[in-house]
Amino acid sequence: MADAILAPSRRGFLTAALLAGGGLAVEFSLPLGRAQAATVGTSAVGAFVSIAPNGAVTIVNKNPEIGQGIKTAFAMMIAEELDCDWAQVTAVQQADANPAIYGPQGTGASQSTPNNWLPLRRAGAAARDMLVRAAAARWGVDPSSVTTAKGRLSHAASGRSLGYGEVASAAAALTPPDLKTVKLKTPAQFSIIGKPTKGVDTPRVVKGEPMYGIDTRLPGMLYAVYEVAPANGGKLVSADLADAKAAPGVKHVVQLKGVGPIDALVDGVAILATNWWLANQARSKLKLEWDLSAQKGHSWDAYVAKAKTLLAEKPQLDLIRSGDVEGKLASAAKRVAAVYEIPFLAHATLEPQNCTALYKDGALEVWAPSQIPAGGKAQISKFLEIPEDKITFHVTKIGGGFGRRLRNDYTVQAAAIAKAVPGVPVKLLWSREDDIRRDFYRPSGWHGFEAGIDANGKMIAFKDHFVTFGKDGKSAMFANMHADHFPYGIMPDAAVVQSTLEIGVPIGALRAPVSNGLCYAFQGFLDEVAIAAGTDLPRLLLDVFAEDKLVGEPDQPEKAQTAFSTKRARAVIAKAAAMSNFTSKPIAPGRAMGFGFYFCHNGHFAEVVDASVKDGQVSVHKVWVAGDVGRQIVNPMGAEAQVRGSVLDGLSQALEGQKITFVDGQIEQSNFHDFRLGRNDRNPAVEVAFVASDSHPTGLGEPALPPVIPALANAIAAATGKRVRTMPIDLSALA
């Protein structure tokens, strides 16, 4: 029953086909949204599972792999229900963008696991069902008497057995079963899911085989750079391309006019040369004049000043208001108030944005490291006026996503450049400087918090004035408040109010979007409240979450599994506190623990950081993580990696000085010297415990990140008495 909750509401469509050379190919169309479901057809491409006569199993991975391990996890889900041996899975191929077959193919918001957990298992189970029926027919026995294990079919009564490959072609001729009723294993029967499993691409990665977008090579290919305005939305006023055209190795210089939003195509000049370095060198020869007036005044310092003014003024919009927060604050025995600031951040995927494209005879073929391939295809079609059925969109392996590649700007650029030079394959590659300066940044934000504590040390009122980006109090996408999170539904007397300033630089989703900033501010402030109330953060949280509640989708009971659960929260909070022997007192001079909790992307996570501060240097000794992502960890080996990676990512944000600043829209950072990433000298012990609950398995790419930041900041406060209310942490202030 619980399984129905996250399951697509329509059943998928299943077809089977005979592989060239014999064997079974099961093609399974995942259901699309309601409106589209009726038009889902079957197409000849894209089998999810195929079994060769020799028993080798090939699986197609539908979603982009960005390092989150989904390619391996999806293959495990299918292989589990197929009931083959994992060693039989000899290839896992990456699907092209084709939502008609694969359903939604985006990688983001940690939704790949929950959305595909049942559909992909059903695909595997359907293939198994056909193999069973084929074997039963060959033996003249009832299908119910045929069992499977490790890629073999057996009939116990007669002692006969067959390999899957031996009946694969016969199975291909059978009618596929109804996906709604196909039988799935119980968790106790799992032999692949839940076992630590190595990444399916690892053997190729360690040999340096070409797999990534940047590795794409086509005969006769030219290499491109795309020069754009130094500030977002700049218009190209005049261009003298002569010198660039005459530069060594340069074959074409093409001026392109922007079309559509900034994540489609912006004004720019493409230089195509025989290698990328020559193309990049020729940039200095371009004489371009830009109109940058639209960005005038969009400067970090100006934003900070404006935010301060807004914080002091009457809020523009009430997001949450319950009870009598002002009255409770007025009557409180103690009041705590603080302002928290969050910076703009870049994604800095290690593989810079790139895309390869070939436009020929009215058709376009692209090879793109994109997190949402179908979106890229649609955008190219719309803005470059190429019919979707004339676009083939290959998804490459991706050198890090973190949300950056949810935008397809570089994909559209490559396609536009290719369209300008028909018949010539073009690889567009951004320099690191391009990559840092043309990002869709994690937006900054400010919180003016206030809380009231009664004489018994109970928090009785909570208020946040959130200053963010948008218009007339309404926030822009990814600059929003989680209005259905704490204090909503939890605190009887609470208010969250909002004011906005206009945004100039592009903003977007960064790993655990919205949550990555909110968690730090809320959990940092609540730590201050806990101390003022004479308790500590885990105890304060256990107290406010004491009553069993589901918050988040109160009107949609079917979404209960994805809602915030105070019960699940308490379990991970208690677990993290117990694992770490948490104490809010310093454990040595200059050394203390800090606590953080958050719920996002369906995961409840509590984390403890043990850190020490000496001479303005912060050392992180250990991090404890307790997380609830449902009843089943699909791949413990991948899960551990995701949690550890998230923890290091959060620590780097806080401790490496990561901050994007700008003057009149021109980004001041450019490369890894001024936008630093963590190195191997910060490699704390990380102890992870997964607290199983009765919920569906949910994703792990994001939810472990947010709590580590306040846990670190709170540890520093406990160790030094210096509260960190601005990110990134100013180490000089700790010296």
């Binding site: 960005i66 390092g67 391990g69 190595k198 990444g199 691409d201 690892t202 053997p203 990665v205 360690v206 040999k207 340096g208 070409p210 990534y212 940047i214 090579r217 290499y223 060594p248 025989t274 290698n275 990328w276 370095w277 020559l278 800095a348 995927t349 290690l350 593989e351 810079p352 392996k397 991706i398 050198g399 890090g400 973190f402 590659l429 690191r432 080996m637 990696a641 995701q642 550890r644 990676g645 998230s646 923890v647 290091l648 990512d649 780097s652 490369n671 890894f672 010297h673 990433l677 963590g678 190195r679 191997n680 000298d681 910060r682 490699n683 704390p684 012990a685 990380v686 102890e687 992870v688």
Partner: protein, 157 residues
Amino acid sequence: MKFDLTVNGRKRTVEAPAEMPLLWVLRDELGLVGTKFGCGIGMCGACTVHLGGKAVRSCQTPVSEVGKGAVVTIEQVGASAVGAKLQKAWTELDVPQCGYCQAGQLMSASALLAQKPKPAREEIAEAMNGNICRCGTYDRIFRAIELAAGTGGKANG
């Protein structure tokens, strides 16, 4: 200008400006795309290759400075005993997440072990500090090097 190079044991002749970095000679002129571009300023280590047995950042090595030194890239490092051992350890512990930095990590690690078969953890840390992993796989990298060197490989948790 013409340059005669020895890349992965083969003589290769390339026509390139003297200041063109080896990285782009390898990737774009010779088609050896296993060596990765991350920053172009010597800050990330994704472009690490061996030149005369030493780990160098190919983005900071002009082709004119390569000279007679043997260039070895990720495509060939497995031919050495140390390289093969490291690749095996990397696979065993499933080091990569997105995998993009790993060619550079393996090249730095193999140069280290070739010179110092049993490095202490501090020596590993120092030799590998120039290699950024955006995904944070450092712990498994330490362990994989120690596994290959026969000095440990225990998880830090």
